[in-house]
């Protein structure tokens, strides 16, 4: 039996369905992420799991039991809020001990669990300080310790890393993974940062306009996006308009606008003359000097229009002979920008047959 079972949940605000007939299950011990742009319904869904909102239709079950009649304070589910929501008039220790006090635990037990929780987030000596004396990262950790101290069945995290600067954010991501593994609690994480979702999660549900677009492991979401939205939202992706010339169980022959004939792996729902989009990740597009010998199936000639150097990689924008534009990623394996290609230089781009994904409309 799954730990959390969300069945056909809908939540409407006026005429708008913020969450539209969503069903998914979450297993115990998982790091599960709800990923999507602002307004896609991920936070609304999270609040319904926490109990601050009730679904208009459908049910949310924990361990097989419907949560509908259980108020938030009785649910064994805790939340880490985006603004941390630390009680400003209580010390760090009092904040972290709060759930234990609410559960009526004896003082001795509270003492031990408190020490353990603070140690887990490396804040052992900050117990007597007040939230306003802490840095953003420290407040984050207090919020985590507080929500985990009495081992809830599920921990909900609402974009907790949003307010941190880039470096701190990456450090906290690593800490979160370690913490989740150590404590074993099921995490349900909400974010709009797709790189973060890919890094942290066991499984991701990509949401858009109240619905789930795709639910899968990170590598499958990245490598095999099911539709245009997922392909575009996750990472960078070349998206080219294409029509099917010939479809067979072994593969597709596509007529790609501005490019020509391209071979791609088979796709469901693709028949002759179906229209759609060919999606190729920039790192799959090999770029080489013009007239280099290539064994790769799809090969086209073009000119470098522009490039973007970001230190570890360089992205080349290549304009191809028939008008299409492709991004190609090249790692800078030598120090400084590897002076491979300049603007205006003729080059050749190529990719493996199975690097492209055809997404029918």
């Amino acid at each position: 039996m799954p730990l959390l079972d969300i069945r056909n949940v809908t939540r409407r605000f006026g005429a708008l369905a913020a969450v539209d007939n969503v069903s998914l299950t979450i297993e115990a011990g998982e790091f599960f992420t709800l990923l999507g742009p602002s307004g896609c319904g991920k936070t609304t869904l999270l609040r319904m799991i926490a109990g601050f909102d009730l679904p208009d239709a459908g049910a949310i079950l924990l361990d097989g039991r419907d949560l509908a009649d259980t108020p938030p304070e009785k649910r064994p589910i805790h939340t880490v809020f985006q603004s941390y929501a630390l009680f400003p008039h209580m010390t760090v220790a009092q904040n972290v001990a709060f759930p234990l006090k609410m559960a009526g635990k004896p003082p001795a037990e509270i003492g031990t669990k408190l020490k353990e929780a603070l140690a887990q987030v490396h804040l052992e000596d900050k117990g007597d300080q007040y939230p306003h004396e802490l840095s953003g990262g420290q407040k984050q950790r207090v919020a985590l310790a507080r929500a985990l101290v009495n081992r809830p069945r599920v921990l909900l995290l609402d974009e907790p890393l949003g307010a941190l600067d880039a470096k701190l954010r990456e450090e906290m991501q690593i800490e979160l993974i370690g913490l989740q593994r150590e404590v074993g609690v099921t995490f349900v994480f909400v974010t709009h940062a797709q790189a973060e979702a890919l890094a942290l999660s066991h499984r991701i549900a990509v949401m858009n306009a109240g619905r789930i677009e795709q639910l899968d492991e990170p590598s499958k979401i990245y490598g095999f996006p099911k539709n245009r939205f997922v392909a575009d939202f996750i990472g960078h992706c070349n998206m080219l308009e294409a029509a099917v010339i010939e479809a067979s169980p072994h593969g597709l022959r596509l007529d790609v606008k501005g490019l020509g004939e391209v071979s791609a792996p088979a796709a469901e729902r693709a028949r002759a003359r179906s229209a759609g989009v060919l999606a190729i990740r920039p790192e799959q597009v090999r770029i080489a000097a013009a007239d280099t010998a290539h064994e790769l199936a799809n090969r086209f000639a073009g000119r470098v229009q522009d490039f973007l150097y970001v230190g570890d990689v360089t992205t080349y924008l290549v304009e191809l002979a028939n008008g299409a534009r492709l991004e190609a990623l090249l790692a800078n394996s030598a120090p400084g920008r590897a002076r491979f290609f300049e603007v205006g230089e003729p080059v050749e781009v190529a990719w493996r047959r199975d690097a492209g994904v055809f997404l029918p409309d």
Partner: protein
């Protein structure tokens, strides 16, 4: 330089002040002349162009501050004046304060004012806090109108409508039940509560608005029942606002004149009403003395309120 001109202006303002103490218009004329001279000097001075606007700001502000304080200073100073007339300074005396202490009518009025203020402010604080929390949390539609209109309207309207209500509706309604209802302490207290609720509600609501709302959700999320969440999280955090509101309600009640005037009936006296009678009937520096004492009291209240919840007072506007 600019500072010199401001100094001349300050001297001029002091001369104006002195003219009231001495009862002599010549000082006033001198004062105005000095201020004009300072202004002319500022215009003529070719110095730094950039600080000219700032100079005018200081010039006008000094005059404004003087305008605010000179009248009050005169009241205070003349309370120690050894003369029955508030016309010119004769000598120092504490006589008027002694007479005040012996004035039965005044003492009774003071006692009444204090009792009314304590009762009215306590009840208004409770009701106003509830209103402030309700408006922030539930956003009701009718309550804000009921809470804020008594604050915004001229006081005379509230006073007059309550007069009609008490005498024409409440009195005849309660008579058959055996209750002899009439204007007096009770009606004044009820009236004071009515207009004080708004002030407390504004302050409490402002305090809540300045806080992160997710704190209250977090308390519920972590296992607190609604009552525990209120007792352990909401109340301690709103408390400074409640205290500021209570002090404000107390001050308003002690100082109130217009509404009390209409709802007090005959026979009961409050401090402001007593002062009013003295002003209209027989002006003696006793009025100055009681005014000075009253000023000190409300000053203390405002300073305390400012310490406890500084942001709350600013939100009043």
């Amino acid at each position: 330089m600019r500072k010199l001109a401001l100094g001349v202006e300050a001297a001029g303002l002091l001369a104006i002040f002195w003219s009231f103490l001495a009862g002599d218009a010549r000082y006033a004329a001198f004062g105005v002349g000095a201020a004009l001279l300072a202004a002319a000097a500022a215009i003529g001075w070719r110095g730094e162009r950039r600080s000219l606007p700032r100079f005018w700001l200081w010039f006008a502000s000094l005059a404004a501050y003087a305008f605010l304080y000179i009248p009050l200073a005169i009241v205070v100073i003349f309370s120690f004046n050894d003369s029955k007339l508030n016309a010119e300074w004769v000598g120092f005396t504490l006589d008027w304060y002694h007479r005040l202490a012996a004035n039965e009518s005044m003492l009774q009025a003071a006692a009444n004012s204090l009792a009314i203020a304590l009762l009215a402010s306590s009840i208004a604080t409770v009701l106003g806090t509830m209103a402030g929390i309700a408006m922030h949390r539930f956003r009701p539609r009718l309550l804000p109108f009921l809470v804020f209109t008594p604050v915004a309207m001229p006081e005379i309207l509230l006073g007059v409508s309550l007069l009609i209500f008490f005498l024409n509706s409440a009195k005849p309604l309660l008579a058959p039940v055996g209750i002899e209802f009439d204007l007096g302490l009770l009606t004044v207290i009820l009236a004071h509560i009515t207009f004080s609720i708004g002030f407390v509600a504004i302050i409490v609501r402002a305090r809540l608005a300045g806080m992160d709302d997710s704190i209250f959700e977090a308390a519920r999320d972590l296992g607190a029942t609604p009552w525990q969440s209120f007792r352990l999280v909401t109340f301690p955090l709103v408390l400074p606002g409640i205290i500021a509101g209570a002090l404000m309600a107390f001050t308003l009640s002690i100082d109130d004149f217009v509404i009390t005037f209409f709802t007090v009936g005959v026979g009961t006296k409050t401090l402001p009403l007593e002062i009013y009678t003295m002003i209209k009937v027989a002006v003696t520096p006793e009025v100055n003395a009681i005014s000075t004492l009253l000023m000190l009291l409300t000053l203390a209240m405002i300073v305390i309120a400012g310490r406890v919840a500084p942001d709350a007072l600013r939100a009043k506007a």
